[in-house]
Amino acid sequence: MKITDACVHPYPAGDSTLARMTIEAAELGFDSIVVIGDAGDRHPGIEVLRGAVICAASQKEVIKQVRSPAVRGADVVFVNAGDTSFNRAVVAVKEVHAIKNIHATRKNAFDHVAARTAAERGVAVDISMASIVHLRGTKRQRALQQYADILSLHRRYGFPLTISSDARSILGQRSVRDIRGLCALFGMTGAEVSEALSSFGRITEPHQPVRVVE
């Protein structure tokens, strides 16, 4: 059970290098992080997974991008959420591991149909701490509403959740303790936070029925 920060953006996208972010993540209580971009060499004390984020307008585009060499080499593939039909379609794509930026979509963009498919296929929904930490006013209220809605769907259908700091700097990284406090704002319990932080193994290597090879 590895505690994983599901998404960080190191230098040059942000102002902190990957090595520095791994040191900070280890101090903050994480065992692994997912890096968008180049994961570089091995880092002592912490596992670094390579992630890729797909921004697309249609399922066709997602499938096209998933087959590109840059995305194929990634350990974790995220897709930025869109409207209802897009989300329903994208959770059915085999190579997609998680949906990101759900807070930026319209209300009910991720509905019960998408939730059921996500649960069947083991596709996760990412909860970004950056939207709670950096946004203010109505935008943050909307993000909290979206996360509360996602949480109720998660409790009903059982699809996995991931939690990411979405940090571009060490100043954006938050400790496991802080994440627990922030997730409590939209009703997530400590056990649910622990499960979400350690759900990466389940997403990248889902439980499948035993196949007889011979």
């Binding site: 090595a19 520095r20 040191i23 903050l28 203010r136 943050r140 060490i170 406090g181």
Partner: protein, 160 residues
């Protein structure tokens, strides 16, 4: 004025938080304004008024925030949403919560630069280099106000 007897006083909790970036010389008043702004925008005036947050002291890269007992989780969550102190990018990381300041003082481990600051040039920009324990290197752009900061390690600096 005669002080209230101890049994009549409200119970308090103290939260110790580390200020990032390390070298930041944060003013207590400015930290207080940042904490209040973050807490008020998150929980509203009524909840923050009841929680009674206050900055007790701010020194050595740490800040101690006082609040009413029972509100410490909310205030700790609010501290996690602090993005800036006096218009400078910053973060507060909760280290410990206790009922006494004395217990928190024992948890304070001052973080000071390892050696004298040096200079380095990236592209057209000059940065001052501050080295900290665990191979951490902070680069602060030379200038008067709103300098850019970069957070590297010793190995990253050698590569460049």
């Amino acid at each position: 004025m005669k002080p209230r007897p101890p049994t009549m006083r409200g119970k308090r909790r103290y939260i110790l938080a580390r200020i990032l970036p390390y070298g930041m010389a944060a003013d207590q008043k400015q930290v207080y304004f940042s904490v209040i702004e973050a807490a008020t925008s998150l929980f509203g005036d009524a909840a923050v008024g009841l929680a009674q947050p206050a900055v007790v002291f701010c020194e050595g890269g740490y800040v101690v925030v006082r609040c009413r007992r029972g509100a410490e989780k909310d205030i700790a969550a609010a501290l996690a949403t602090v993005n800036a102190i006096a218009d400078e990018r910053a973060a507060l990381r909760t280290v410990a919560v206790s009922g006494t300041i004395r217990a928190l003082r024992r948890r304070i481990k001052p973080i000071r630069p390892l050696s004298a600051a040096g200079d380095v040039k990236f592209g057209e920009t000059y940065f001052t280099v501050y080295r900290y324990p665990r191979q951490k290197v902070d680069l602060v752009e030379k200038g008067i106000k709103h300098q850019k900061s970069l957070f590297f390690t010793e190995a990253d600096l050698e590569e460049r």
